[in-house]
């Protein structure tokens, strides 16, 4: 049986290097060895934090960040299945539905924020770009989301942010869901004027705001 510490180092390094094959190799060995699954998850979380740091320091780009969260999602699923067999419950921080508004296809900022929020432990449902207010709200209701995070990069699509909040009010569910807005021209003043709960200028800010909403 491989030594626990040795496996944890391997888990950390393979994850930080974003080597999918090695990550799953370690998971397999870990499960076979019968070590506490919580310790492996903690190591992966540590590795994800390092990846987030490298991204912030511009050592990694978005593609590496997204790839690492995809690997984490797959690893998490595999581990969760294993833990379910042992009747252990795993709990995330909260659910966030993310999208860019109708007619806006600029999704780079949203994708960065989605990855950073996943790294922070949120269950992120990213429904993509160019989404109607009703689609975003339906996804939030279906997934019992705590937060909706939406962005609009252009002046011509900014009014769709307002429409989203109006529709939440119309459906009488506004008080159940926090709304974070973002975009090149979106300011705190604008967010206040349309009744959003917060304006996030960066992915890091989005994580900080989301943390306060679920604490």
């Amino acid at each position: 049986m491989p030594a626990k510490e040795e496996l944890l180092v391997e888990a950390y390094e393979s994850f930080v290097e974003i080597d999918e094959k090695k990550v799953f190799n370690v998971i397999e060995k870990w499960i076979d060895s019968g070590y506490e699954i919580k310790d492996l998850l903690e190591k992966f979380a540590e590795a994800l934090t390092e990846i987030g740091r490298r991204f912030e320091e511009k050592e990694y780009f978005l593609a590496q960040l997204v790839n690492s969260t995809l690997i984490f999602d797959k690893a998490y699923k595999l581990i969760a299945e294993n833990m379910a067999e042992k009747a252990i419950e795993m709990k995330g921080k909260g659910t966030i539905v993310m999208a860019t508004v109708r007619n806006d296809t600029h999704d780079l900022g949203k994708n960065i924020a989605a990855s950073m929020l996943r790294i922070a432990g949120f269950n992120v449902i990213d429904i993509g770009k160019d989404k109607a207010a009703s689609e975003i709200i339906d996804a939030a209701v279906d997934n019992e989301a705590d937060i909706i995070a939406v962005s609009s990069m252009t002046s011509t699509t900014m009014r769709n942010l307002e429409e989203l909040i109006g529709l939440l009010e119309e459906k009488e569910i506004r008080q159940n869901i926090k709304v974070i807005v973002s975009g090149a021209l979106v300011t705190q003043e604008y967010a206040d004027s349309i009744g959003a709960d917060a304006c996030a200028r960066t992915a890091t800010e989005a994580v900080e705001i989301a943390e306060t909403f679920v604490s």
Partner: protein, 453 residues
Amino acid sequence: MVDIHSYLEKAMQGEKRDEHKHDMEVFRQSQKLATSHGITYDEDEFIPSETEFADSVFEAALDLLLKVGVYCSDTGRVIKLDEDEILSSIKVPKTLEIGRFNEVVSVPNRYTMDSEPPVIIGGPMGGTVSEEYFLEIHLSSAYEPLIQGVYGGAMETMGGNYIQGKSPYGLLATLKEARLERFSTKIASREGLALMGPCTPTSSPSYMLVSSDEMYSRNDPQEVYQLSEIKTDFETFNKSIFHLAHGNKFFSSQSAVLGGNSIGSAEGLAIVDVAETIQSKMITGANFHVSGSVHASTNSSSAKEVIWASNMASIAISRNMQHYTARHYFNRAGCCTDMMFYETAAQAIGDTVSGRDILIGPVGGRGALIDQSSGLESRFMGEIAHMATHLTMEDANAVVSKIYSKYKDRLLDSPKGKPFNECYTLKSEYSMIPNEDYLNLYKKIFSEIEGYC
């Protein structure tokens, strides 16, 4: 037309794929191919001196296209390409003339260290332009003798109101854009000077509306912008079918983002840039391809990794493929700053030595700030390109390295510069000259770079 039909069929019937999965597939495959082809980014070079490396980039780009295909965002399906059709497509010979009357320009078939200069296209190049100075900004480029075409700007407002995307106002604004651009060539006594664009439209009807002899004629290259990172959509098909059916000159353009959804390294960017050029030639049938690669951190095309990757792609294409290529200059700094001139020079020298056929721009403030274009900035780009035709790769590398050192520390905090109306003295449409300070700055930087050469 036959080819486009077959690609459309593939877009309708190909394998279903999630867009996110396509992005990741492009990233993973391009990283793997860079490793397996031995392609490595050299931090000490701006223009790859080992030209054989460029052949490896071309091979990797072919492999990438074969492995991932082209994603159609409207059908959520993948257009699979086979090797034979790619190889036969890239060998189809090219010839291209743009402009009309006395302004006809034959685009040269350039190669590395070519003594013939690239074609110089000025204008705001899709950057945001105010209604107030729309005519004057285009006119300032049309007045420049070195400039062989004008690439339009995106009109900020229509009648003082913001233009709602895909609304009928978009059609009216596009008409206004095209008429003013054509008018600028007439005022400058350069009837027939090639226009490139239009840039205000957000839907195909607007593009098609201005495609006529009075505005964008068959010899004015018309824009077919494609989604980046090896994707396409129905809008691309719509416009391409229209231009092919009417015999219009048109170009495809894409802006791959280093640090974006699918590109995580300079090597990956070079491979994707070449793959997109091949994709564009095959799927749109365009006369040439414009690359507008930028860096996610700065949103500019003047970052070192982007310059290296673009030069690598240009060498790879000029050595292995029959297709014209052009490049957008999205500068980080604004007009009337030393940094804007340095950014333009670093790119123009690299492109000229790397065999690029057409240079376009530059636009300042990454095109997001208003009125960041002027004829003087484009004149400078043309003059530097002409000067660079005398440089060897080695010399060009040394010169670009010196120029880059002048702005590399300012890429994240760049001078905003001045909008056009503060750079020029505008008395009438027949009398517009750069301000004295602006002219002096231009002369100073030009002399400095001349000294490096």
